[in-house]
């Protein structure tokens, strides 16, 4: 069964005013449990509005949202439980840190869930180790930490609630390449260890291509496609046409095809590019001029 399901989900902002705008238009989506989904789409494509529906921050104008089979807006479902099951990490989450120690900040969510102190401690240690925050930092004020560390503390607070679904809105925005790789690796490790469902909004096709098991592309308030990375990148041509920046490597292979070389166009990582080139050469019985 799908852990996340939407049925004809539609949301219109500022109904009845000159600013009326449909941000999500008739979206039907089924996301299976355990996927690591990369969500791509340019600003205004509806991706932020869509994710805010998944833990009930926004009520659909029409249509339904099911989490784990339950309609989150039905009378029998408590929204509070939905929010414990679906953890949402906003952009620049480090701005939301407020507690006086790192420990207390991570504990904030679990405490609100009514967990006992022992369980909270266990979860904090687990997540601290997983994110490489260093247990010695738990007593520190979060404001003594570097920007990248602060962001990981903020993400840890949501991970410690052990939600069935974790959604992160651009978790790498504004970080340097090293900081970006650290956070993406840790999200991948969290996904591997907890086997939970993770949704990650990103502007970087390169990042999404490396980590996601599925890619959701939003365009003009609608789902453009939802599929595995190779299948999505097979449509690289169309992706470029809707204004998305496909990985540099993908553009190179599209250019090769234009030059008349019959090579596959679903190439999106450097490793895969090397493999594809070797296969092509082998097929055409040409030795590399090594």
């Amino acid at each position: 069964m799908a852990i996340i399901k939407t049925e004809n989900l539609t949301y219109t902002y500022s109904v009845g005013t000159p600013f009326e705008k449909t941000a999500v238009n008739n979206v039907n989506l089924e996301i299976e449990e355990g996927e690591l989904v990369g969500i791509i789409g340019h600003t205004g494509s509806g991706k932020s509005t869509l994710i805010q529906h998944l833990n009930g921050l926004i009520k659909p104008t029409s249509g339904k949202v099911y989490i784990d089979g339950e309609d989150i807006w039905s009378k029998d479902v408590k929204l509070r439980d939905v929010r414990f099951n679906v953890g949402l990490v906003f952009q620049y989450p480090e701005y939301q840190i407020f507690e006086e120690t790192v420990y207390k900040d991570i504990a904030f969510g679990p405490k609100n869930m009514g967990l006992d102190d022992k369980e909270i401690e266990k979860r904090i240690y687990n997540i601290t180790d997983l994110l490489g925050l260093g247990r010695e930092n738990l007593k520190k004020s979060p404001f003594e930490l570097s920007g990248g560390q602060k962001r990981r503390v903020a993400i840890a607070g949501v991970m410690a609630m052990q939600p069935k679904v974790l959604i992160l809105d651009e978790p790498t925005a504004g970080l340097d390449p090293k900081g970006r790789d650290i956070i993406l690796e840790q999200i991948k490790e969290y996904h591997r260890q907890t086997k939970s469902t993770v949704l990650l909004v990103s502007h970087s096709m390169e990042d999404v291509a490396r980590f996601a098991t599925k890619i959701l592309v939003m365009n003009h308030a609608e789902v453009f496609c939802y599929d595995t990375p190779p299948k999505v990148f097979m449509r690289a041509d169309e992706l470029t046409k809707i204004g998305l920046s496909v990985p540099q490597i993908t553009k190179v292979f599209l250019a090769l095809r234009e030059k008349g070389i019959d090579i596959r166009s679903d190439v999106y990582t450097t490793e895969f590019a090397v493999k594809t080139i070797k296969e092509y050469i082998a097929e055409h019985r040409r030795l590399p001029n090594a």
Binding site: K251, L256, I281
Partner: protein, 283 residues
């Protein structure tokens, strides 16, 4: 060519902690660099490498503890000349929302000119020219709150352009923008450099942006560790990775092919060059 920025053996640390009296770590250690008039220089380095700190020395926001910085020939330690320096060396920061002060686009662009006491007629002309140069003229009567991040950043840049600077120092101007906003801002930066001859110092994390520069300076732990044209810098793939930096995907592909015994040129940094090279290999 004339130097617009000259840094000589610059050392910098923030003041000691008043409570503990603990000495702060050195952020810049003996940094020397020159930026020539009309150049487009990108500065790379991971967080904490000192790249933003050196940028803030260029228009006297920070003054070296040791060493000297001359901006347009003026010693930045000369407090009496601070306004001269800042009129000629403008600065654009990461967050567009923190740089916009007025409620109407053209008023925001005029802000510095009003402070400088530029006459009304002259001001009108400079504001219009500045907005046109960043392609935001049609938005002159809009409220900044209705603009996208990329548009806001271009308004912030127009505010600097209106001062007719010789040089603009940009500290990660595209970090908070989406790919479309990034493209708009980069296009503007290149135009200002090529068509208007404004010197650009661009601090960035994006390797594709640095690839467009005339020269790249790489910083690590408060020192300059590499300097050269983009092709030469990015071809040193291993060294860049050790420094916690990336190279363009196409350069990495060439590097991997070379390691696998193909004759591949790691000086390739653009998609076109890469496609041409692969075409030769495959056709």
């Amino acid at each position: 060519m004339e130097n617009i920025i000259l840094a000589e053996n610059v050392e910098f640390s923030y003041p000691a902690d008043p409570e503990s009296g603990e000495e702060a770590a050195l952020i810049l250690k003996d940094v020397s660099m020159t930026i020539k008039k009309g150049e487009f220089v990108a500065v790379l380095g991971h967080n904490g490498s000192g790249k933003s700190t050196i940028a803030k020395h260029m228009n006297a926001i920070l003054i070296p503890n040791k060493g000297k910085v001359y901006s347009n020939g003026i010693d930045t330690a000369d407090e009496a000349r601070i306004f001269d320096i800042r009129q000629h060396i403008g600065m654009v920061f990461q967050n567009p929302d923190n740089q916009i002060v007025a409620t109407i686009v053209e008023e925001d662009v005029a802000f510095a000119l009003e402070n400088m006491g530029v006459p009304q007629e002259e001001m009108r002309k400079r504001v219009d020219d500045a907005l046109k140069s960043v392609n935001m003229y049609e938005y002159r009567e809009h409220s900044p709150s209705q603009l996208s991040g990329g548009q806001k950043q271009r308004v912030a840049i127009a505010g600097i352009i209106a001062m007719r600077p010789d040089c603009i120092v940009m500290d990660e101007p595209t970090a908070m923008l989406d790919p479309i906003g990034r493209k708009e801002v980069m296009k503007t930066i290149r135009k200002l450099n090529k068509d208007y001859g404004i010197t650009i110092v661009l601090i960035t994390h994006y390797m594709d942006e640095a690839a467009l520069a005339d020269r790249i300076i790489v910083m690590d732990s408060g020192k300059i560790v590499m300097e050269g044209i983009p092709k030469d810098i990015f071809s040193q793939v291993e060294k860049m990775k050790l420094l916690g930096l990336d190279v363009p995907q196409v350069t990495e592909l060439m590097y991997m092919l070379k390691n696998d015994g193909f004759s591949a040129d790691t000086h390739i940094i653009s998609e076109e060059e890469c496609a041409d090279a692969l075409y030769k290999l495959l056709a």
